[in-house]
Symmetry: C2
Amino acid sequence: MAGFDAATALEAHGGGRYAGQLDPAWQIAGKPNGGYLLSVLGRAALAEVGAGYPHPLVASAHYVAPPEPGSVELTVQVLRLGRRTAQTRVSLATAAGLCVEALMTCGHLDPAEPFFDGVEPAELPPEKACPRLPVEGPGFLVPLMGVLSERLDPATMGWAVGKPSGRGELRGWLRFDDGREPDPLALLTVVDALPPATFDLGVTGWVPTLELSCHVRAVPAPGALVVRQRARHVAGGRVDEVCDVWDAAGRLVATGHQLAGVRHP
Amino acid sequence: MAGFDAATALEAHGGGRYAGQLDPAWQIAGKPNGGYLLSVLGRAALAEVGAGYPHPLVASAHYVAPPEPGSVELTVQVLRLGRRTAQTRVSLATAAGLCVEALMTCGHLDPAEPFFDGVEPAELPPEKACPRLPVEGPGFLVPLMGVLSERLDPATMGWAVGKPSGRGELRGWLRFDDGREPDPLALLTVVDALPPATFDLGVTGWVPTLELSCHVRAVPAPGALVVRQRARHVAGGRVDEVCDVWDAAGRLVATGHQLAGVRHP
């Protein structure tokens, strides 16, 4: 079991190629977390474009096949190095083949205050009043809950006792268990780290991510993050979810959008 | 000037390569519309994966450089042909180089009714009570308004007379001027076809799309579409916008998310 930095560490092999080791702690029900994989891809992209483009600004990943824990190879293709942004394509593969492909634009996040914020704030009880999610999930193991502290608003935890609210929303506090503070790279994990919002609709099955895009909007302040995961629409065996993340100073720092498969009535 | 089907027509050259002609009618201020380009990429992806995967389900594009109207080359790499979905990478280039790269997952849209709909409906006056956007934009030409009929709710048109509402929301009715009915491929254009929602915040400059992802949720019924474009957050010279699209039967058929550059105070 490794903290975030060790679990996403890469070795550069030159020519845009990197090698990494996927850590079994960053899994859910035997599959690596899609956000964790996106952070691994992000680390490769940032390494390849260099210090002139220090932050992931927007990343879009399509998930092809879930990799096993262990050795992975990453390949970064730089599409364009511009004045303000660098655009890349990144792939993650195991010996069995391609697992994830992503497009990632890197650049510099501006610390200035937002000009406009139209995102409804999340309201929830203090962190200590929210119960921590256990490693034992509903019918499967969630090792990820052993490396991330996720404390959910009890008002959004009815599904754990068979009483989902039907609103399709989860919200909670999130920290890295090893004390590591959040940064833009880690936010790529955070936007996919909560349980599926479909749990709050009474749909408790596995929700494999087909596509995940993440907009990183600011460098987060130190401290616990607030994360809100909402199901927007469930139809035809697919759900789209929006995940907003605020830092300890109350600033919106990232938004994730994903389309995932789901078995619903 | 060509209708949607002619403006997105492609010639197959084998080996995943396609040739097309970008039409100057599908431009805004001298740049091709990002949604139009996404439909061109989508047509190539659908052609390559074949009839077993008839609909684009989710597409994610990063915009590298705006192409001039005229000849373009597309290259489709099939990442995986699965039982239910086909995943592809598609690029669009001119003689000057790469312009757009996208990941696109194709499959079959299920006609069954949604299980859950948490997206706030758009309310707006009847189509005929909404004024049509002209080809003459605020300081630049929008040829796109000569091929798309966009009739905006007057309550979201204050920016046209210097009185933006400050809510960051535009909503209106959209049809293809040549009478073509909407389909999943065309929805890739529709999610990026309204003016920037930042106009309603009093920010009227050019808003170049960095990244656009589109979730297609259903095959649209014939008739006018309802489109709502909202600015979520404007900070650090970037805006994220969410665009929801409903068909004439009132069903949510597509959602677009984009991160774009914007000059704001």
